[in-house]
């Protein structure tokens, strides 16, 4: 146990050490050395994560693979007593580790290490690389810390750190205006979602007084919670999900993701695969047991809209990285929708496989962009297969995995989600709902056809045909140091879906462990174990207001439905990859030639413009929110100028008048007294001085006068007495 915990803490601490060293000594270490330090620490972190995984699987204590999670709680913040606190009166500081955490740790540290290695070459010669690697290390620390968080409050802390790191890295090239703007946009857009997250957290703390995850699962599970009304729990679920909407770039807060491409490409790979956007889905998976059916419906709707927007916009983008950004958005939509329809395992599984092939795709795109002197528009590409064969093959493998081609990793994870979606919409149809509900199945299915199409489009336009930019083409090359990570990730993109590879099994085991944990907390006498459901009935739980008679009372009925759903999903999407690829190859066989001809038809050019401009969401937001903010700013400015400034001006004038009055009073009275005294003294002095004129006769006269007065006085005194 101590070794496992030590290893886990080491996974978190090593990137932090790297960050601290680079922060302190970065300038002294300089360009290549600082990068080596960061890379060394990230590889050490990966090694620790792998060791932790081995220790986890072979653990023989009361926790471990298939047994139960590792939970360590400490009293943290004193907030007053509430029911259901581990330590009465305190919010906990908890480390919660299950198989999903362990495999996520391994994935995150691996991607992070690979990205470090890749960045060494990608950013070679940049004077600020120690700063870059320091931020990258901080990113690794934030994400691993987030994975180990056992309370939502802790999660929020690391969540914000992740947001900060993405801001710093997207804006790394801070001499570029678009990078600065994109970084600010990403940060602000995330803040919008975080507001919801924080409000949800506040509600949780005020009603339950606890944010520790296993306790929340037990207390707030929709099937037997009594702590608060169902409506309130739905609200909390939706608010917490708002955080995930921002982080995982779901509609309507998705607009930051394509802009974030302004950052260095390895950073895009890290953000899209392992860290930033994964955090949102991770949060959703963690709060899955407390989501009510209504909250799930909200999640499903958002996920489906995001899949639609992402898949459609990806088709029309002219920039390689932006197209990939939209593809990420669509895949995140799949994960979110997966959680919504009750396929938490599918979402987790897809999160992991997606990490590998999306990192692969981005790093391959990075090689292309690097080789083409930082030109990222598809117009400049074409025929690059001859120049970059390894990259082309790696990109193809990533594209095939993402297209859910059988025997590639994406196939297994996406099938799982689509099967649940099919079962969910089947259940909706059985309980007599409108056809609109079946969109939860049809949107992912259509997305599954679009995915291979747009990836094929990218591949064809980049690697085949005639070179469109001969000058750049002649100098194009692929450095070996950049190709090596591609080879590693290509292998993982293929094998990570297989049963023998510890991804699927770890995700499944985490469900078992969660159930064991909940049983341990509720005790054997508990009438309802909220998580004692297998996935068919989880689908059922995800459906709002299902009539009791249609509920699968026996697991067999549920199994049947899911098997039917899986069969339907397999039927619908099994050949999607081939159809999409064929369509892509046919349309883009001669570069842009066919699409340019098609675009002359106004029927097609209008939607193309619409998609190219990302459905005008940016313009809409600019018009509505930025415009509203500007308008409010102008109004407040006017208010400030007219009312407040006027008031202050008047006040100032009044003060000035008062000051003048005081000044004259001062001048007249105070100074007057002083001046009067001094001039009196002067006058009398001068007067007295006159008598001391040095004239003998005056002296004599005064002496005589005094004598006379004395005499007269004496005589008068004598007489009057």
């Amino acid at each position: 146990m101590p070794t496992l915990l030590t290893l886990l803490l080491l996974v978190v601490a090593l990137p932090l050490c790297g960050f601290a060293i680079l922060l302190a000594l970065g300038k002294r270490l300089g360009d290549p050395l600082g990068g080596y330090v960061g890379t060394g620490f990230s590889f050490a972190g990966f090694a620790a994560a792998v060791a932790a995984m081995a220790a986890w699987i072979s653990s023989s204590y009361g926790f471990g693979y298939g047994v139960g999670p590792l939970v360590r709680s400490f009293a943290w913040l004193p907030i007053g007593e509430h029911a259901g606190q581990r330590v009465p009166g305190f919010l906990d500081f908890t480390i919660y580790v299950d198989s999903f955490t362990v495999v996520m740790l391994a994935m995150v540290t691996l991607i992070s290490a690979v990205v470090h290695l890749y960045s060494l070459r990608y950013l070679r010669g940049d004077a600020r690389t120690p700063i870059y690697f320091g931020r990258l290390s901080l990113f690794g620390f934030s994400m691993t810390g987030l994975l180990l968080s056992g309370t939502l409050l802790q999660l929020l802390v690391f969540w914000e750190l992740v947001g900060l790191c993405s801001y710093l890295l997207i804006g790394y090239w801070n001499e570029r205006r678009d990078a600065r703007m994109a970084a600010t946009k990403a940060f602000l857009t995330n803040r919008v979602g975080d507001v919801g997250f924080i409000i949800g957290l506040c509600l949780l703390v005020s009603f339950v007084g606890n944010t520790t995850l296993p306790d929340l699962w037990v207390m707030l599970s929709p099937t037997h919670q009594t702590a608060m009304s169902n409506g309130l729990l739905t609200l909390i679920g939706c608010l917490l999900f708002c955080g995930a909407i921002g982080k995982s770039a779901q509609f309507p807060l998705h607009t930051w993701l394509p802009d974030a491409m302004a950052g260095p490409t390895p950073v895009s790979a890290l953000i899209h695969a392992a860290t930033m956007v994964a955090a949102g889905v991770f949060l959703l998976i963690r709060i899955d047991p407390i989501l009510t059916a209504d909250a799930r419906l909200f999640v499903v709707v958002i996920g489906a809209i995001t899949i639609a927007i992402g898949s459609l916009c990806a088709i029309a983008q002219r920039d390689l990285k932006q197209a990939l950004a939209f593809s990420t958005m669509a895949q995140l939509g799949y994960m979110v929708l997966g959680v919504g329809v009750g396929s938490r395992d599918g979402a987790g599984f897809h999160l992991l496989t997606h990490a590998f092939f999306k990192a692969l795709l981005f790093l391959a795109a990075g090689v292309v962009i690097y080789g083409m002197h930082h030109k990222s528009r598809l117009e400049h590409y074409g025929g690059l297969f001859r120049r970059m064969p390894v990259t082309a093959i790696a990109f193809a493998i990533g594209a095939l995995a993402m297209s859910a081609t059988p025997y590639f990793s994406g196939y297994y994870s996406k099938e799982l989600i689509v099967a649940h979606a099919a079962a969910w919409s089947q259940l909706a149809a059985d309980s007599g709902r409108s056809g609109l509900w079946s969109l939860a199945l049809w949107v992912p299915v259509i997305g599954a056809y679009l995915t291979p199409f747009y990836l094929t489009r990218l591949w064809m336009l980049t690697f085949t045909g005639r070179p469109r930019d001969l000058e750049a083409f002649e100098e194009a090359h692929e450095p070996g140091m950049l190709s090596f990570p591609l080879v590693v990730l290509s292998g993982l993109a293929v094998v990570s879906g297989f049963d023998w590879f510890p991804v699927r099994s770890m995700v499944d085991s985490s469900a078992v462990e969660t159930r064991a944990q909940v049983s341990a907390l509720t005790g054997p006498a508990s009438p309802v174990n909220p998580l004692e459901h297998d996935w068919p009935s989880r689908v059922h739980l995800s459906m709002p207001d299902v009539e009791t008679d249609t509920a699968p009372t026996s697991t067999e009925a549920g199994d049947d439905r899911v098997e039917a759903g899986a069969a339907q999903a397999a039927h619908l999407t099994h050949w999607a990859w081939l159809a999409g690829i064929i369509a892509g190859v046919v349309i883009y066989a001669r570069g842009f030639a066919l699409t340019e001809r098609l675009a002359r038809l106004s029927v097609l050019s209008a939607p193309r413009e619409w998609l190219r401009h990302r459905m005008y969401f940016d313009d809409l937001y600019r018009w509505v929110f930025v415009g509203a903010a500007r308008l409010a700013g102008r109004l407040i400015d006017r208010l400030d100028r007219r009312v407040i400034d006027g008031l202050i001006d008047r006040l100032a004038l009044a003060y000035a008048a008062l000051g003048r009055v005081t000044a004259s009073a001062d001048d007249l009275i105070v100074d007057g007294v002083v001046r009067g005294v001094s001039s009196g003294v002067l006058t009398s002095g001068l007067g007295v001085g006159q008598t001391q004129g040095g004239r003998v006769r005056v002296y004599v006269a005064s002496a005589v006068l005094m004598l006379a007065l004395t005499v007269i006085g004496t005589v008068a005194w004598a007489v009057l007495r």
């Binding site: 001085g689 001391q692 004129g693 040095g694 003998v696 006769r697 006269a701 005589v704």
Partner: protein, 103 residues
Amino acid sequence: MTVGLPHYLVLAAMLFAAGIITVLTRRHAIGILMGIELMLNAANLNLVAFNRFSAVGKLDGQVFALFVIVIAAAEAAVALAIFLNFYNNFATVDVDQGNELKG
């Protein structure tokens, strides 16, 4: 009409007043000295008169008057010496010119 003490005293007072007025109005040092002599003689007149009417048979007043005359002579000598010096410094004996002690 017999001449009594008041007549002497009135005469002495008038003499003294004349002396004072001389001292106060004269700017010439010698004139001032003369005024002083007048005042001294007024005093001498008083001394003699008082001796005549109140201390009959004694000569105290007369002796005093003799002393005053002697002292007046000495004083005149000193005063003339001062005037000589004054004249040396200011080329005049106008006492108003000697106002260097004014404060």
